[in-house]
């Protein structure tokens, strides 16, 4: 019996102490006719050795990012991960603990969450952050709901150049609460928020304006403009940001954001087919802190005056406030947040700046090379680590051909918008090398 210490003798002894004869007696409370009378229909068990072989064969049916050169992004990115992180997060004390309900024996998890909160707050230049969210998309949706509750308004404005998946999820969350979503269109030439769409009157009932920096097309927007617009309507500015970009790009706090969310999976977490990632959630001001979803760790002292950490402000949470809670989140993504904290600690300010700078420069390089090779840019705007390229091609077919040459091509925009069928979203992280890019350009040039 893998992982089960009870031997038949143990079982007999224990049953006897209960005055029972068989294991079946334990289930006397279950109406007999409801009980399953046959074994579950599951595959035969595999011994560990066979399991490993079987699973590695299954894994090999996937083409992994070490087997190809990837320019795929669109919400998930191949960033470099320091090797030491996985060693630290797999220490049993981190891996096999749960939410730190008993603070005195959970200082490891609590202090590491406190570090995560601190580092996220500093990186975003906000005052406080929570212990993590499921991912960036759900963090955004919760930010929108929280904006409604904080402002007592029932409309949310969001730039249409947000990640379409995030917009969809936002829509699902808002609909469930009967909140109206107003999509602020983008300028078809730049992909940036259409400033004309931000009409003065429009904002008066909106709880918040959601902008993403960079936007789904990789471009950097004029956040100040959107900020002024929503502030003038007494709404909140909600920013969704790529944390890596903050090594170079103006911090949300510097824009006066009220709530900042994003996906921190790119900070030291394996990409793993998109999950688990980890969302972050940062705010300014105690008023918003008290409405924040998720766990929060605070600093305190013990009876001897020693500094320690505890879960705090629990009055917001489901286990205290139940249907009045600010969110239903319970388990979050603690281990991924720990990985992100370790990543930030290892990289430090210089390292993060370097990651951002290399993304920026390499993206610029590939973009220029592709232009020189005869391709057009879909949008005319500054970009960070991703850009939309235009050519009258079937990009999904091109991607098939690229695969044969060992490249994972960009994201065909037709998958989210038929109007962009001629374009592909190309991502370049610090992990790409000049040689990889040059060969990629050569290949594509040959097919033009």
């Amino acid at each position: 019996m893998p992982y089960i210490p009870n031997t038949p003798e143990d079982q007999q002894q224990m049953l006897k102490s209960l005055g029972m004869d068989t294991l079946a007696d334990l289930f006397a409370d279950i109406p007999e006719h409801l009980m399953l009378k046959r074994p579950l229909d599951l595959p035969e068990p595999l011994a560990e050795r066979q399991l490993l072989r079987y699973m590695s064969r299954l894994a090999e049916k996937n083409t992994n990012l070490d087997q190809c050169v990837s320019f795929l992004g669109a919400g998930a990115y191949d960033h470099i991960i320091p090797a030491v992180i996985s060693h630290l997060i797999s220490r049993g004390e981190f891996l096999t603990a749960y939410t730190p309900y008993q603070a005195e024996v959970s200082q490891g998890v609590l202090q590491s969450i406190f570090e995560f909160q601190t580092l996220i707050a500093n990186l975003t230049k906000m005052e406080a952050a929570n212990a993590s969210m499921y991912d960036g998309a759900t963090a955004l949706a919760e930010a929108a709901l929280m904006s409604c509750s904080a402002t007592n308004r029932r409309k949310v404005a969001a730039a249409a150049n947000l990640d379409p998946k995030w917009l969809e999820i936002l829509q699902v969350y808002l609909e469930s609460q009967d909140v109206e979503l107003i999509r602020i269109p983008y300028d078809p030439g730049t992909g940036l928020i259409d400033k004309d769409a931000l009409k003065p009157g429009l904002g008066s009932e909106t709880a918040c304006m959601i902008v993403s920096q960079p936007n789904f097309f990789g471009s950097l927007d004029d956040i100040d403009h959107a900020a002024r617009w929503i502030k003038s309507a007494q709404g909140l500015l909600v920013m969704a940001v790529d944390p890596v970009s903050l090594g170079i790009v103006k911090a949300p706090g510097e824009y006066g954001a009220d709530i900042v969310v994003g996906d921190a999976g790119c900070l030291g977490n394996p990409i793993s087919f998109g999950g688990p990632s980890v969302g972050f959630f940062a705010v300014n001001g105690m008023k918003l802190v008290r409405k924040m979803p998720g766990r929060i760790v605070g600093q305190t002292t013990d009876k001897n005056g020693r500094v320690g950490y505890v879960l705090t402000l629990q009055a917001r949470e489901q286990h205290i406030r139940r249907e009045k809670a600010t969110s239903n989140i319970c388990s979050n993504q603690a281990l991924n947040a720990l990985a992100a904290a370790i990543y930030l600690a290892l990289l430090g300010p210089k390292g993060i700046r370097q990651v951002a700078y290399q993304c920026l420069q390499k993206t610029a390089y590939l973009r220029r090379k592709l232009q020189e090779a005869g391709f057009r840019l879909r949008f005319n705007a500054p970009v960070f680590k991703e850009f939309a390229l235009q050519a009258d091609w079937g990009w999904q077919e091109i991607n098939q051909r690229l695969l044969e040459h060992g490249y994972l091509g960009g994201f065909p925009l037709e998958l989210v918008d038929p109007g962009l069928a001629d374009s592909v979203l190309i991502a370049v992280t610090e992990a790409r090398s000049k040689a990889e890019m040059d060969q990629f350009v050569d290949l594509l040039r040959g097919w033009l």
């Binding site: 279950i30 096999t96 759900t138 999950g275 991924n336 994201f411």
Partner: protein, 481 residues
Amino acid sequence: MLLLDLSVPGRRGYVLPELDVEETPIEELIPEAYLRESDLGLPELTEPEVVRYFTQLSRKNHGVDVGFYPLGSCTMKYNPRVNEDIAAMPGFSRIHPRQPESTVQGALQLMYELDGYLAEISGLAKTSLQPAAGAHGELTGLLIIKAYHEFSGEGRQRREIIIPDSAHGTNPASAQMAGFIAREISSNSRGGVDVEALREMVGPQTAGLMLTNPNTLGLFDENVETIAKIIHDAGGLLYYDGANANAIMGIVRPGDTGFDIVHFNLHKTFSTPHGGGGPGSGPIVVSEALVDFLPDPIVEYTDGKYHLVRPKHSIGPVKAFYGNFAVMVKAYAYIRHLGAAGLKRVSENAVLNANYVMNQLKQDYYLPYDRICMHEFVLSGKRQKELGATTLDIAKRLLDYGVHAPTIYFPLIVDEAIMVEPTETESKATLDAFVEAMREIAQEAKDDPEKLRSAPTRTPVVRLDETKAARNPILTRKALV
């Protein structure tokens, strides 16, 4: 000392390969107004310092690997390390969610098969693996209930979700998030749903009922069929909070007892590690009638290939991409390793261990519902409270024994609740040692309650001041002013 206290300007913990492309002046790439001016506020440390810092932190933490962790409702069972190795295989950990389907057939097959296993275990039809945790599964399930009623044209009318007073806090919170009104139904003297009260509560406004079975008292609600009938007759749907599924694998299937939607916590029942509070995974399984409403996408198998498909009346996606894939990999491996017989043994032994411990403790602690329990049970510390030691004190004292405390003050319907879930991966010796500790503590409560009130004493820090933390919140290294 926090990371930033250890920081020394100029240190580097990780260095990228040199930039190998010609550089463009940054001002040609980004308008100056878009550039960051402020400090990053990150520490400057070397790798050895970071390793020592986090190693030291970890040593201040309890985990299943360190000792017994009978945290009720959380199923703190052993987490097999082989599953970590499997999830780390590059074919699983290094695949991009937007890759062409043809390049991720292994991942899709895994999801498709896991979907099928969970359907079989629950007795339902089809799974969405997207929810990131139990609570997220609840929200998703409730959105499906909503969509179902809307589809039948009853969306406006069916606004109420009935939830037992014993339920986990996420249930009412999820109901609220899904835009429902949560109605609390009280428990009867056996700890189950008060069936008569339920009959009175249902009506055309009823969207559904959320039930945990075994419930958070660790008790199987014998009236489950009656309850199901009442709800179904009223036009509502039944949602099963599967946080307690460790008790029922291969024994009884929620689908067979009338439920329409089930969520599982893979991080509980299927042994994926809790990671200090996540990542979890909260897949939901639904009956045939609800398949079309599942979140986008689900995995289908057609023409010898696996595909990501949007169900016809999908509620839409509830999370970016496909859920916590790496967690699914571990749960999948667990199921493949144990098989049907293994899973059944898990539940049998989880229930056996709980009953064994409950029976040993009911002399010394008040047992509000004295009947067979399932995988966990709830004591009350009220006798000890009268002696001057609260359940909190008992919990803190347990820490001195190298044991993590049970869940306390939950469920709310039990005064001074102490909720014990031993799990099947604990040995009789461990259970006996726990019983011994609990008895000693009960004795201490009689002889010297102050000893409990001043516990713990053998932990890295002693009793922490939670009130202070909440009154004057310090949430980052530089306090909020």
